[in-house]
Symmetry: C2
Subunit: 328 residues, 2 copies
């Protein structure tokens, strides 16, 4: 009998394991244009925390008592959809469960890139695509640019650092603590700032004496302000996340916002979902970088469907290095 | 003997008339590729206050004891430059004086638009071009968009309102006080907000129940924050000025900055000087709008070179409606 994790009650603040319940599910029969998939890998991601609140956002909230969803990679075991056959490996959103029936339209056959299937949930998935399109499209970053990446040891940040180096940019990364800074240095960053040690703006000015052309923002707040302070003319900021503000209610305070005018700075927020139609570009480049070793992926793997909530909760305890995955 | 206003000493805070001195000048002889111009109209603008400080910005500071500069329109009286002949009317930067010798490259013959010459210092000059390129290029505003313009009774703001209406957009303007609000309404704005009366965000939400696609920012601060709060997906903000912050040292405090991500908002600062090569587009459209009456220009005229400092100082006392000009 297939099983799926259900949201039992909505967490308030940090979630705990008792909010989730593993229950048998009745899979619908496979109708026309549908496929049945046996999952091999599940993704757990920080953004899922937002879906546990009953708040409208760019993704609808999880419904109480209903099976949860998320990125998953699995093998087609039954198909009534053109172009999908048993044995095909697919990426889809029917995660948090071992088996799913999904519309073929909402599934994507894994491209032949010689990559491991689970990489399509990380460096070849949303994480990698966010870094790729954020840096190259939203921020129009190009060879020779001086790029600042905040939270550079994070999943998206570390991908952004490596993509920037693969494209021959100068990269400054920020991270908290010596160990994470060492990791960012090992990724190839030209300079690394420990935001826990000393004044951030002074550190950034020192690391980027000529200023920056691009800022890839995962943090907001002080990081964004420092980036505004040192931005060169026509700098472009891709705003991917502002984790500094996720858990507090105070407004963002910016001393250097007025520089957007004299320096003609462009600040652009984005969601990777808007780039679905351009994933082929991403697969082509990222596939090549993985092959040559220009980009390396790191994963933390937890085994067994039963462990899915633990894997998810681990995201907020620093239990992962790189992408957190569940292997079934 | 030609005369020019010189900066005698640098003002601290609000400038006063004793900082300026009118003195005879020795004009150089007209070398190759130069022209001599007898000025008919001088422009005085708020940005000139910044040039009186000894601070590097996007325009160099005025030098103490040297003739000042600024926009001017005059008649060529001597030319050693191809394409310029005595009698031609030109726009140039040799203002704050009655006669100037300038490189022909830095002068522009007034296009034949059937407009008054002094309009090239206002609605057909920097003021109008700032509104035009800020709205249509920087903010990519187009027919059907809902546009919010702050300081809509100001020189640039009132031009932006009229251009937006000429292009069939829905326009909400903000201004301070009943009289200015009436003026903005008379310009054709669909809704007007008095920012001195009541909570700005509540007023804007009421005036734009469907949100806004475009924000033309002359103010910054609370206005920018309210615009972030009500922005629709893919909204574009053109940041022209942030006058709220010009005279205070506190940082800008934004409660709704994080909306840039989920709503994919683009915030772009700009300077009109970057659009010099595209002035023909502007002349073509604005010339046509002035002819049909779709856009109207307002001017306040002060007479006589001796009155130039008074005209300039009047800018900070609300002495002008529309563009402030000096007629020689």
């Amino acid at each position: 009998m297939p099983k799926a994790w259900h949201l039992k009650s909505r967490p308030d603040g940090m979630p705990s394991a008792d909010k989730f319940e593993l229950k048998d599910i009745d899979l619908p029969s496979v109708a026309e244009d549908m496929i049945r998939v046996r999952n091999g890998w599940l993704s757990v991601d920080p953004y899922m925390r937002g879906r546990m609140n009953d708040v409208k956002s760019y993704v609808p909230p999880f419904q109480l008592g209903q099976p949860m969803e998320g990125g998953a990679v699995g093998e087609v075991v039954e198909s009534r959809a053109e172009g999908f056959a048993p044995g095909d490996l697919v990426l889809h959103m029917g995660g948090w469960r071992d088996e799913a029936v999904v519309p073929a339209q909402a599934a994507r056959k894994l491209p032949e890139l010689g990559a491991e299937p689970q990489q399509f949930l990380g460096i070849l998935g949303t994480t990698g695509a966010t870094a790729y399109f954020g840096l190259l499209d939203v921020a129009s970053a190009k060879e020779g640019d001086i790029v600042f990446v905040s939270a550079a040891a994070g999943a998206v940040g570390s991908a952004a650092v490596q993509i920037a180096k693969a494209k021959r940019m100068t990269v400054i990364g920020s991270a908290g603590g010596e160990q994470k800074c060492d990791y960012v240095r090992a990724l190839g960053a030209d300079a690394v700032i420990d935001y826990r040690a000393g004044d951030l703006l002074r550190s950034l000015s020192g690391a980027a004496p000529q200023g920056i052309d691009v800022y890839f923002d995962n943090v907001g707040g002080d990081h964004l302000d420092a980036a505004l302070a040192v931005a060169r003319n026509y700098a472009r900021f891709a705003i991917c996340g502002m984790i500094e503000g996720y858990n507090k209610r105070e407004p963002t305070s910016l001393r250097f916002l007025m520089r957007v005018i004299a320096a003609r700075i462009r600040i652009q927020g984005f969601l990777v979902f808007d780039y679905q139609s351009r994933m082929d570009e991403f697969y082509r480049d990222m596939g090549a970088w993985l092959k040559t070793g220009a980009v390396k992926s790191r994963e933390t793997v937890v085994e067994g469907l039963e462990q899915t909530p633990e894997a998810f909760l681990g995201l907020f305890k620093g239990a992962n290095v790189g992408k957190m995955l569940v292997k079934l």
